[in-house]
């Protein structure tokens, strides 16, 4: 889908800086493509025509005001669980119907400070809970590569908007793979930064120790540009890191000479589609041709990452979603005679949340409850430590860990909706990066014979996004 004609962030930013294109041109072109594609893709929950054009006019009138405006005039889509001041933000949930945030997320504020134009809110699985964007109160999003298939989730709208050429970049969020899996299904580069690298302030929390915001784009260079604008300490987010922010853009061409790529062979064998295996092997071969070496490593606890994830993430979610109670924002259930506060809570939440959200809240409530906490939640946290130790030991022998991003290419709409557990198992390669807090990037490798995108994933040491971006850049050339 990415052709010479598909806009990239770099291409647009350069053309606008050189005066070949105005911000209003870029915005108008994006709106035209949205108008043409949206009827069959359904990537957006809201498109901000007037607001975006107004901002574009002001950007054009102001001219270039500083060198930090590296995204000046570039239209972007924002996943609808990221607060945009004055613009509805619903997390694709009925429980937040009509919610208009009084502030913007730091990530949005930083993109806008860099000159980007928010053009719309992207569809998603409700509260980030899902792997197909089929759990949305706003309807289903289709994969632009094959309209009978999902774009993945939970950042499916963000991925589809970029893959269909409607925007050059979108912000997603990733708790268990929700940027990387849609990137793989839609032929994009998707980056989950190191935990704490990008502020979570203004991201509607799903699992606070796992969530991160990151870019979905066509190229490694575009990912570097967005990360440059997003990264850095935020006093509004107590979990944000004060690790210095390097220059992600200038180091992107350093190549992979001498890079040691670790492959957990035992882990990437079973249950992986033959075409994904071939595509993965092809990516490893291309990196070797470019000077990297491939080494076998072991991640003994990686096979338990999914149960650990679904215990920890749901426990944290049950706490984070307790705030949706009908009191301060969003939906409030109508009450009958003789009903009071308790009925308001219970019915607001039953009416407002979809089935997957209810399942996860209940699972999380159960594993945190008296009598079960030690056997489930505490145990999961201990295995989380063991998983982090696996990666720390692996990084003595390698610099990045490589795996396919997903065991299969994009599955069909409706294929997994009747069996929640089947849906969860697709996250096998992505959840470890969230549990360990390590950065991970998915990038396109050779597609399937029928032309479906396939992604390869690299996980790096904490704050080593530069190595991930350089490796992704190498694969794309």
């Amino acid at each position: 889908m990415h052709t010479a004609a598909t806009p990239t962030v770099r291409g647009l930013a350069t053309a606008i800086r050189n005066g070949e294109l105005t911000a209003v041109d870029a915005c108008t072109q994006a709106l035209d493509r949205i108008h043409a594609e949206e009827p069959h893709i359904g990537a957006f929950t809201a498109v901000m025509h007037e607001r975006a054009l107004d901002r574009a006019r002001r950007i054009d009138a102001a001219g270039i005001t500083s060198d930090t405006q590296i995204l000046r005039g570039v239209p972007v889509a924002i996943k609808d669980n990221i607060c945009t001041s004055g613009v509805p933000t619903t997390a694709a949930s009925r429980i937040l119907a009509g919610f208009v945030p009084p502030y913007s997320a730091t990530a949005v504020a930083r993109l806008e400070a860099a000159g980007a134009i928010v053009i719309g809110k992207a569809n998603m699985d409700e509260f980030g809970m899902g792997s197909s964007t089929e759990n949305s109160s706003a309807g289903v999003t289709k994969n632009p590569w094959d309209l009978s298939r999902t774009p993945g989730g939970s950042s499916g709208g963000a991925a589809a908007a970029v893959a269909a050429g409607m925007v050059a970049a979108a912000l997603g969020s990733d708790t268990g793979g929700s940027i990387r899996q849609p990137a793989a299904f839609c032929g994009l580069v998707g980056l989950k930064p190191t935990y704490g690298r990008v502020s979570r302030y203004g991201l509607l929390a799903f699992a606070s120790s796992l969530d991160q915001i990151g870019p979905l784009v066509h190229t490694a260079e575009d990912a570097a540009l967005l990360l440059q604008a997003l990264a850095g300490h935020d006093p509004h987010d107590a979990t944000s890191s004060d690790e210095p922010v390097p220059d992600y853009v200038s180091t992107i061409d350093r190549g992979v000479q001498g890079l040691r790529i670790g492959v957990p062979r035992a882990f990437v064998g079973d249950g992986v589609d033959a075409e994904v295996q071939r595509s993965f092997a092809g990516a490893l071969a291309r990196w070797q041709d470019a000077g990297a070496t491939v080494v076998d490593i072991a991640l003994p606890h990686a096979g338990h990452a999914i149960p650990v994830y679904y215990l920890i993430a749901t426990a944290e979610a049950s706490s984070n979603l307790a705030r949706y109670d009908g009191v301060r924002y969003g939906h409030r259930a109508a009450l009958g005679k003789g009903e009071g506060l308790r009925e308001m809570y219970d019915r607001t939440r039953d009416e407002g949340f979809g089935a997957e959200v209810k399942r996860r809240i209940m699972l999380g409530t159960y594993v945190l409850s008296h009598g079960y906490y030690d056997a489930y939640y505490l145990k999961a946290q201990q295995v989380r430590t063991l998983l982090r130790q696996d990666y720390d030991q692996a990084f003595a022998a390698c610099d990045v860990v490589a795996m396919p991003t997903t065991p299969t290419p994009a599955f069909r709409l409706g294929e997994k909706t009747s069996d929640p557990l089947q849906m969860y198992l697709g996250d096998v390669f992505t959840v470890s990066a969230n549990l360990t807090g390590l950065p991970a990037i998915s990038m396109p490798s050779t597609p399937s014979a029928s032309g479906l995108p396939i992604g390869v994933q690299l996980t790096g040491r904490a704050f080593d996004e530069p190595t991930l971006l350089a490796a992704a850049r190498t694969l794309q050339h």
């Binding site: 606890h301 009908g326 301060r328 939906h331 209940m362 145990k379 360990t436």
Partner: protein, 96 residues
């Protein structure tokens, strides 16, 4: 394979403040039972002496207790389903 009873599911729903329909209780009893049966595999792992990881950050997040600008009350009330803005309060049904 673990299973949950209907009684446990209604107890959890009560804790989670979810007014489930009977159909939902039936469906979730089955689905949550399956999921618990799957996640239970970790109980067989040896974690003796392993410290739990609640969070990947290992640093203090303290800061001086100094007031700073915060969300204005008016903005905070704007999305309320029911409010008394002149008193700066959200309004809810009485507790019965």
């Amino acid at each position: 394979m673990s299973s949950l009873t209907r009684g446990e599911v209604t107890r959890i729903a009560d804790l989670a403040r979810l007014a489930l329909t009977d159909e939902e209780v039936d469906l979730f009893t089955k689905q949550l039972g399956d999921i618990l049966g799957y996640v239970e595999q970790i109980q067989g792992l040896d974690t003796a002496g392993v410290a739990p990881t609640a969070h990947v950050l290992n640093r203090s997040t303290e800061r001086p207790d100094e007031p700073a600008a915060t969300l204005a009350r008016a903005g905070a009330l704007d999305n309320a389903p029911d409010a008394a803005p002149e008193a700066g309060l959200f309004k809810v049904p009485r507790v019965l």
